[in-house]
Symmetry: C2
Subunit: 370 residues, 2 copies
């Protein structure tokens, strides 16, 4: 994945991780390229500008709604299996971005999936859910123009799953999800219900809906779009659109962070020292010695530190470009680069946690948790 990217991307620091694997997604799954739409988007979000959002399905429909100030919805969510981290931050910020662009925002606490897939009983996921919602509010989600709910409590979503079930063959489920237990298939149908919930009469009926997710969630979109089309006559569904962001790397440089290895990521609820230490110890695209680094330059394309700046922590695109070139040219060493990032992240986390604390009661109220 990184080999060919190194050569291809010198002029395009934002697009560099769109390499063979992502190209394959376009061809094999029919995901469309996001870049050609970029110039038409009134206020493109930073992850759009930087190629972090690299693909989509039917985003034109959303674009038109945005341009023409027509009604549309954004829908995404979180599995309440732990505290917020950089991965969940990405989706949450995308949802908030679309809300700020005029969308009615739906944010689902996927506790049924947390149960079926991660064996976390509802009683336990409820605790995480409160924190997750407080995080979302702290990040700027406006609950007055949005709907936050738990799958396990949203009867309309469960009912859609039951209704959808009749037109889903076992072969389809196995083709999409492999041979899994019944609960996982049910949870997939419930997620189809989540995605189409914004189009029910209770929420004003059919409307363009964008689902910003990590590209690993595309199977749910394929299933849901198929169901939207099968039940179009009954509900008038408009096929949901989606945007796909790249998955953020582990701190050890491996492709996707995993909750099984707590050293591979950090949450916003960890102690600052722990976060700082994990970043200090992170894998980088640097060379074995400072001397070599000065001479050969680093490899930002494989570097999780660079990715954190680009995905989340540099507000200005020009700073990302600058860092890319400073790294490539050997002007900046990994140590100082990490030090600066640690400072930025600890400041962000401190400020975020302050806002989060202020929103805990509100979150509790939204989720009807005593």
């Amino acid at each position: 994945m990184t080999k060919s990217s190194a050569g291809k991307t010198t002029l395009n620091p934002f697009g560099m991780t769109v390499v063979e694997d992502y190209e394959r997604l376009y061809e094999e799954f029919g995901i469309q390229k996001f870049k050609p739409l970029l110039t038409q988007i009134p206020k493109p979000y930073m992850s759009m500008r930087r190629g972090v959002i690299f693909g989509h399905r039917d985003f034109e429909r959303i674009l038109n709604a945005m341009k023409n100030h027509e009604e549309f919805a954004v829908m995404s969510g979180i599995k309440p299996t732990g505290e917020f981290h950089l991965g969940t931050l990405m989706t949450a910020r995308e949802v908030i971005y679309f809300q700020q662009q005029g969308a009615t925002a739906f944010y689902c606490i996927a506790d049924v999936e947390a149960y079926e897939d991660n064996r976390i009983p509802f009683e336990r996921s409820e605790r995480y859910a409160v924190g997750n919602v407080a995080d979302l509010l702290a990040l700027g989600f406006d609950p007055k123009r949005g709907y936050i709910y738990r799958q396990s409590r949203e009867e309309r979503v469960k009912d859609l799953a039951i209704i959808f079930g009749r037109k889903v063959t076992l072969a389809t489920m196995k083709a999409i999800y492999g041979e899994r237990h019944m609960g996982l298939y049910i949870s997939a149908l419930i997620q189809a219900g989540d995605i189409l919930l914004p189009q029910l009469e209770d929420f004003g009926g059919p409307k363009p809906t964008v689902v910003p997710v990590g590209v690993d969630q595309d199977p749910h979109l394929r299933l849901t779009r198929d169901l939207a089309s099968k039940f179009r006559r009954k509900y008038g569904f408009i096929l949901p659109s989606s945007t796909y962001h790249k998955l953020i790397k582990c701190l050890d440089g491996s492709p996707k962070m995993s909750k099984r290895d707590p050293m591979s990521y950090f949450t916003f609820q960890e102690k600052p020292e722990s976060i700082a230490k994990k970043i200090s110890n992170a894998f980088t695209g640097g060379r074995p010695t400072a001397e070599e680094q000065r001479k050969l330059g680093g490899i930002p394309e494989i570097c999780p530190i660079y990715e954190m700046y680009m995905f989340h922590f540099f507000k200005e695109d020009k700073d990302v470009v600058q860092l890319y070139h400073d790294c490539k040219s050997g002007k900046i060493l990994c140590g100082e680069d990490k030090e600066r990032l640690i400072e930025i992240i600890l400041n962000f986390v401190k400020e975020h946690r302050r806002k989060r604390r202020q929103n805990i009661d509100k979150a509790r109220k939204i989720l009807e948790v005593k």
Copy 2:
């Protein structure tokens, strides 16, 4: 099925249809014989005495509850796909019998199953459901000591289905139900939820529960007993018990009535003339000519007319025995036998419909239908 029965059953008119096929159920599926328990049952129901209820699972547990006046529940239901007929009458009467013996009675309107299996949308099944519940009330169901509900509206049942899903493999579903669409599997899990609903804390917690059903419903019981055992720690479930009645024959003598052929059965909402005509035209166990009949006797073992008397319309066991012998000896001819039955049934239907009309509003209220 009938050959061997003819020889075996001369002294036992009630047991005659327990032949090879039913014997196989004992061996292959571990269904237990009901007859050995009969003498211990305080007030055995007519279909118990007559061998119509021929099998069970763990009925001893119910027997003990009945004897010791301990809490227990009865749970069964109906698919709201049409009007009441002799098949649904059987289950309804069994539920009412157990209610009268002290059980808290749960009667489920299986509208999810009607949708998944028979493609009847909830809006349409609702109409049938009102009638079905009015029928149940007309037959003597006491709503004050029972709970009547629709699957599609009972969130606790849907939630149990979702919770159960995690411990059901695809292989299990396929082994029990064959390769079907997702909706049918979901509906099976929902039925497991129905059967275990009486044991939730909301209804007083774990208790012996008997599910009186046609033997064709045993797969649901096997699945549910397996789930009750898997979730015993969480909910304290007691394995549900069941009783199995034989399936009533078609009017044309074939093994099970089918809604696909309206001449093979009648509903209680049909015109009296239509019912009378269908019975007149029914297949019987009679001989080609009256002369032969007088000489050889009839074959009640294969006769749907005889079965109707035995299953439903003779209140006294001695009348069934009498008819059996009168038929066997050629003393009674099919024409007069049918004529008498038509009179009994039309009287029953007339009286039943009167009571049903009185209960329509109550049914509507119970189902919260406007």
